[in-house]
C-alpha cells in the first residue's frame, strides 16, 4: 500500500507514475534533494537548459508536439521568477505544463530568507492552478492532481512549490487514481439538443464557414480526424487561427488559409460575409475579430469550446456548445448523418464561386527580387526543400512568424509551435529544443527573427550539449521588423529604437558554441544553403540576410473590419485611423 519515502523521492516517483520521460530544468539550493534523486535513476531524462525561461518554452514545445504535459524543475527565488514568462505564455496558449519549484524550508517562509520569493503569489495569475505543499504526506496527492488539472478541460500550466524540508522529510506515497481527483472534472460531452440545433443550421446554411483554433489541437488527434471528416462530408470552407494550423491540412481543397490580422484575404472575406460561422476551439481573439461591431455582421454564430468562459466573452454566440471538440464533433457528425446528410448544395456552389474570386486576388503576392532575398521567398524555398520531411516548425515572434504561417504548409496537427497569445520573443529557440527532445530523428526548424532569437540564444549550449540538431533559420532584417512596420504605418516612419544594432556574426557565434553557422545573402545561393542546413547532422544557425524594409501583408489595420484589409500592392499610408492607434 502506501509506501514511505522522502518528498524528493516522491517527486521522481510521481513523474514516473505519470509517464514522464523528460524534464527541463535548472538546479539550485532549494531543489538539491530532488536533483539528488534524479541523479540516482535512469528513467527520466533531465535536460539542463541555460536559463529557466528556456526550460519552460522547451517544455511547451515538447508538450505541443506530443500532446503530453511538459515538465519543468527549477529552484526557488530567481529560478521561479525566471520561469514566469513561460508560464504566462503557456496559460494564454492553453499548453499543459507541470512546473516544480523549490522553496525555502517551511519554517523560514516569510522571513525574507535567502532566495525566498512568494512563488505561489507571483504565479497565481499566470497558472491554471498552483500549490504550496507544506506537508510531505500531502505531496503525492498534489503531484497527481497537478497532472490532472494541467491536462483536463482547457489545458494550462500548473505549479507546485515544494519547500526544502518537505523534500527531505519522509511521508507516505500514494499512486495516481484513475480519472483524476473528483473536484476538477470539466464537462466534455456537448448538449445534444444544441448540437442538433447546429446541425439544422448547417443543413440550411447558404454561406457557412468553419473557424477553427488551437482547441482542435488541444482536443487530440481524433478531433483533427473528425474535423477533416466534417469538412469533406459537408464541403464547408474552413479557416483557422494561428494556433490551429495543421488540424485541417494546409494542402486540403477546402482550406482558405489562416484568418485574422495577417490572415488571407479569402479567409477574412469569407468570415465577414458568411451566414453561419462555426467556431471550433477558438476564442475570438482581437487579432481575429478586428472591430467587434463590424465583425461578421450577418452571420449566426455557433461556438464549441470546453471552457464556458470563452463563450460569449467577446462575441455574442447564438448556438453555444460547452464541450470537448472531439466529443462534440463525433455527436454532430452522427446527428448530421442520421438526418440524411443534408446541405444546400446549390447555395454552397455559389458560395465557393464567390470564394474562388477572392482566392484569385492572390493576396500573398509580393515583389520578387534577384538581388536580395525576400523573406517570403526564403520561406517558399524552405517549404519546397523540406516538403516530404518529417518536419516540425517553431517560430519566434514578429514578421517572420506571420510569413511562416502564410507560406509554410501544415498537413498534420502538432507540427507548428508558436507563441500566439502572449507573443513572446525568445519562445522559438527553446521550443525547438523541446520538440527535438521529443522527436529525435525529425527535422526541427525554428523560423526566427534575429532580435527574437537573441533573447534566448544562450540555449545554443543546451542544443550542443544534448546533440539536438535544431535548425535556427534566422530571417535577418537587422530590424525589429514588426515594430518597424507599425512605426512606418502608424508613427510617420519614425523608427524609434527598432534597429538591431551591434548584431553578432552569427556564423562565428555558432562556431563559438561548437555548432555550424551558415550565412546566406544571395537568392541564387539560397537553395544550396538550405540543403546544407538540412543535411548537417547537428545544430545550425542559418543567418539569412533578407530585405530590410519588407512589410507583412495582408494586414487588417487595428480598429478596422475584415473587409478593410490592406493588400501588399496598394498604398498603405495613413491606413490606420487615429482610434486604431491606441490598439496594439
Amino acid at each position: 500500500m502506501a509506501r514511505q519515502m522522502t518528498g524528493a523521492k516522491m517527486v521522481v516517483q510521481a513523474l514516473k507514475d505519470q509517464g514522464v520521460d523528460t524534464v527541463f530544468g535548472y538546479p539550485g539550493g532549494a531543489v538539491l534533494p530532488i536533483y539528488d534523486e534524479i541523479f540516482q535513476q535512469n528513467d527520466i531524462r533531465h535536460i539542463l537548459v541555460r536559463h529557466e525561461q528556456g526550460a519552460v518554452h522547451a517544455a511547451e514545445g515538447y508538450a505541443r508536439s506530443t500532446g503530453k504535459p511538459g515538465v519543468v524543475l527549477v529552484t526557488s527565488g530567481p529560478g521561479a521568477t525566471n520561469a514566469v514568462t513561460g508560464m504566462a505564455d503557456a496559460l494564454l496558449d492553453s499548453i499543459p505544463l507541470v512546473v516544480l519549484t523549490g522553496q525555502v524550508p517551511t519554517f523560514m517562509i516569510g522571513s525574507d530568507a535567502f532566495q525566498e520569493a512568494d512563488t505561489v503569489g507571483i504565479t497565481r495569475p499566470c497558472t491554471k492552478h498552483n500549490w504550496l505543499v507544506r506537508d510531505t504526506d500531502a505531496l503525492s496527492g498534489v503531484l497527481h492532481e497537478a497532472f490532472h488539472v494541467a491536462t483536463a478541460g482547457r489545458p494550462g500550466p500548473v505549479l507546485i512549490d515544494i519547500p526544502k524540508d518537505v523534500q527531505f522529510a519522509t511521508g507516505s506515497y500514494a499512486p495516481p487514481v484513475k480519472g483524476g481527483p473528483k473536484r476538477y472534472q470539466p464537462q466534455v460531452k456537448g448538449d445534444i439538443e444544441t448540437i442538433t440545433e447546429l446541425v439544422e443550421a448547417l443543413e440550411t446554411a447558404k454561406k457557412p464557414i468553419l473557424y477553427t483554433g488551437g482547441g482542435v489541437i488541444n482536443s487530440g488527434d481524433a478531433a483533427s480526424q473528425l474535423l477533416r471528416e466534417l469538412v469533406d462530408a459537408t464541403n464547408t470552407p474552413i479557416t483557422s487561427t494561428l494556433m490551429g494550423l495543421g488540424a485541417y491540412p494546409g494542402s486540403g481543397k477546402n482550406w482558405l488559409g489562416m484568418l485574422g490580422m495577417h490572415g488571407l484575404y479569402e479567409a477574412n472575406m469569407a468570415m465577414h460575409d458568411c451566414d453561419l460561422m462555426i467556431c471550433i476551439g477558438a476564442r475570438f481573439d482581437d487579432r481575429i475579430t478586428g472591430r467587434i461591431d463590424a465583425f461578421s455582421p450577418h452571420s449566426r454564430k455557433a461556438h464549441i469550446d470546453i471552457d464556458p468562459s470563452s463563450i460569449n466573452k467577446v462575441v455574442h454566440t447564438d448556438i453555444p456548445i460547452v464541450g470537448d471538440v472531439a466529443h462534440v464533433l463525433e455527436d454532430l457528425l452522427k446527428i448530421w448523418k442520421a438526418r440524411g446528410r443534408k446541405t444546400d448544395r446549390e447555395a454552397l456552389d455559389r458560395w465557393w464561386k464567390q470564394i474562388d474570386e477572392w482566392r484569385a486576388v492572390n493576396c500573398l503576392t509580393y515583389k520578387t527580387s534577384d538581388q536580395v532575398i525576400k523573406p517570403q521567398y526564403a520561406l517558399q524555398r524552405l517549404e519546397e526543400l523540406t516538403r516530404g520531411h518529417d518536419r516540425y516548425i517553431t517560430t519566434e515572434v514578429g514578421q517572420h512568424q506571420m510569413w511562416a504561417a502564410q507560406f509554410l504548409t501544415f498537413d498534420e496537427p502538432k507540427r507548428w509551435m508558436t507563441s500566439g497569445g502572449l507573443g513572446t520573443m525568445g519562445y522559438g529557440f527553446p521550443a525547438s529544443i523541446g520538440v527535438q527532445m521529443a522527436h529525435r530523428d525529425s527535422l526541427v526548424i525554428n523560423v526566427a527573427g534575429e532580435a527574437s532569437w537573441l533573447m534566448n540564444m544562450q540555449e545554443m549550449g543546451t542544443a550542443v550539449q544534448f546533440r539536438l540538431p535544431v535548425k535556427q533559420f534566422i530571417l535577418n532584417n537587422e530590424r525589429l521588423g514588426m515594430v518597424r512596420q507599425w512605426q512606418e504605418l502608424l508613427h510617420g516612419e519614425r523608427y524609434s529604437h527598432s534597429w538591431s544594432e551591434a548584431l553578432p556574426d552569427f556564423v562565428k557565434l555558432a562556431e563559438a558554441f561548437g555548432a555550424k553557422g551558415i550565412l546566406c545573402t544571395d537568392p541564387k545561393d539560397l537553395d544550396d544553403a538550405i540543403m546544407e542546413m538540412i543535411e548537417y547532422d547537428g545544430p545550425v544557425i542559418f543567418d539569412c540576410l533578407v530585405e530590410k524594409h519588407e512589410n507583412c501583408f495582408p494586414m487588417i489595420p487595428s480598429g478596422e473590419p475584415h473587409n478593410k484589409m490592406l493588400l501588399g500592392e496598394v498604398s498603405t499610408k495613413d491606413a490606420i485611423k487615429e482610434g486604431g492607434a491606441v490598439l496594439v
Partner: protein
Amino acid sequence: MSALQIKKGSTKHSAYNLRPTFSDVIETHTLAVLVDNEAGVLARVIGLFSGRGYNIESLTVAEVDHTGHLSRITIVTRGTPQVIEQIKAQLGRIVPVHRVHDLTVEGPSVERELALLKVTGAGDKRVEALRLADIFRANVVDSTLDSFVFEITGAPEKIDAFADLMRPLGLLEMARTGVAALSRGATT
C-alpha cells in the same frame, strides 16, 4: 432559463441566459461561491476580480462546513449582463471552486448585513440618535456619557439609510460585515 451555473461535473449544458447578453444596462448581482477552504483561495477570487477589472461592492467569507472544509464567499458585484456572465464563468474555472450561485437570478433570496456604528454627541442629538436606533431596531452595544455603539442588522439598503440618518447626529466610525445571502425555500 436559469443563469450560468457551473457545477463541477454537471451534465446541465445549456448554461446561458436568454437575456440579451450584450446590453449596456449595469446590474447588481449577489453571487454565492462555494469553495474548498484552502490556503490562497480568497486571493484567487480577489485576484480574478482585480486582474480582469471586475467590481467588488461587497465580499464576505467564512467557513460554513468544518468537516467538509468548505467556505462560502458572498460577492456583490456590478456589471453588464455579459460581464456578470463572464464573472460567473471565470469563477467556475478556479479549481477549488465547487459551485457558483447567482442569487439575483436564481429566484428569491434573503440578504443580510451587520454593521456597528459609533455615534458621538450630547443633548438633543444624542436623544434623537437613540430614538432613530429604536425605529431601526438597532441595539446599543456600548455606551459612554458622550457616545453610543449601535449594532444593526438588515439588508444593505437599510444599513445605508440608518447610516445616512446618523451622519448629522455625530457618526464617527462605522464597520460593516458585507452581505451574507441565502436563497429562500427548501433548496440550496
